[in-house]
């Protein structure tokens, strides 16, 4: 420990640093390096990069899909389709007349509308 150095000194304390280094340094760096590199070899970096790029692409696709779905849901909520529109689209002009008429239809008209191709 360097007595000239105050605790607030901006310079590293060589004595304290050396003592701490000795206290914290683990044995056999070479074995540790070999262990890490063996682990890396089991999961090559190229594979991780590919997986990472896949993940990025997947997130982008999911975001676009969510935007499209949100747009469709919002459009459906703000412009609800009436029963009349559905019948018009599905069954043609006779069914439309049947629905919007204020008088109850004759049974033959109903049957004719159903039988209409």
């Amino acid at each position: 420990m360097n007595p000239e150095l105050m605790p607030f000194d901006h310079r590293p304390d060589p004595a304290l640093g050396a003592a701490l280094r000795q206290a914290l340094t683990a044995a056999d760096d070479a074995a540790f390096v070999a262990r890490v590199l063996a682990r890396v070899a089991r999961a090559p970096i190229a594979h991780w990069d590919v997986l990472a790029s896949w993940a990025r692409a997947g997130i982008a696709v999911a975001a676009v899909a969510a935007l499209v779905a949100g747009f469709l849901v919002r459009r459906a909520v703000t412009n609800p389709t009436s029963l009349e529109d559905v019948l018009v689209a599905a069954a043609g002009p006779s069914a439309r007349a049947l629905v919007i008429s204020s008088r109850p239809p004759d049974a033959s008209v109903v049957l004719a509308a159903v039988e209409e191709p």
Binding site: A19, A23, L24, V36, L37, W48
Partner: protein, 197 residues
């Protein structure tokens, strides 16, 4: 450290390629380049992890996690900045994560030679006793303080770099180093007054 991205005393013995060159080669698919980076920084990463975790086995697991995480995140590294602080940040985070997952820390068994006082030469025994006391003293400090003093006094990083590692202002780093030094120096002084050193 800003002008010299390699940890003091350890980079010199390894190839003189810069960290940035090694990162570029690693990203180009050269696993050997990453091997050089691991060799260059293994000791520092292990020390930082041990400062956080105490237990040497836990520390090595965390250090390995950190180096693998660095490899996976390597594209995020900005080569205009020094590599060491970027890696130390990953190391400190990996060690903290591991400590949180394992709240009950195993205590490191005392060296039998130290306990028995026995077969080792006096100087070696003194060295081990001091090491044990320093580790004990470190473990009493708040985690951020431990990492700050190790990065400053052992690894040689600047206050500004440590601030980026820990995500705190430079002034706070100075304060953390100050408090850590005061505690550790007092321990060293007591140890010497006891006639142990």
């Amino acid at each position: 450290m800003a002008s010299d991205p390699q940890p003091p005393g350890e980079g010199a013995r390894i190839a003189a390629e810069t960290d940035g060159e090694l990162v570029a080669r690693t990203l180009a698919g050269e696993q050997a380049a990453f091997g050089i980076l691991v060799e260059r920084y293994a000791a520092s990463v292990r020390r930082v992890a041990r400062a956080v975790l105490g237990d040497p086995d836990d520390a090595d697991d965390a250090a390995q996690d950190a180096l693998l995480a660095a490899l996976v995140k390597l594209r995020q590294y900005d080569p205009r900045r020094p590599f060491g602080p970027w890696l130390m940040r990953i190391a400190a985070n990996a060690a903290t994560d591991r400590r949180r997952r394992r709240r009950v820390r195993r205590t490191e068994p005392l060296d039998r030679n130290v306990v028995a006082g026995g077969t080792l030469p006096d100087a070696e025994t003194d060295r081990r006793v001091l090491g044990q006391r320093l580790r004990d003293a470190l473990s009493q400090l708040p985690e951020r303080r431990r990492v700050a003093v190790v990065l400053f006094d052992v690894e040689g990083y600047s206050h500004a770099e440590i601030g980026r590692v820990l995500g705190i202002p430079e002034g706070t780093v100075r304060s953390e180093v100050f408090h850590a030094r005061r505690a550790l120096r007092s321990l060293l002084a007591d140890w010497r007054e006891d006639g142990s050193g």
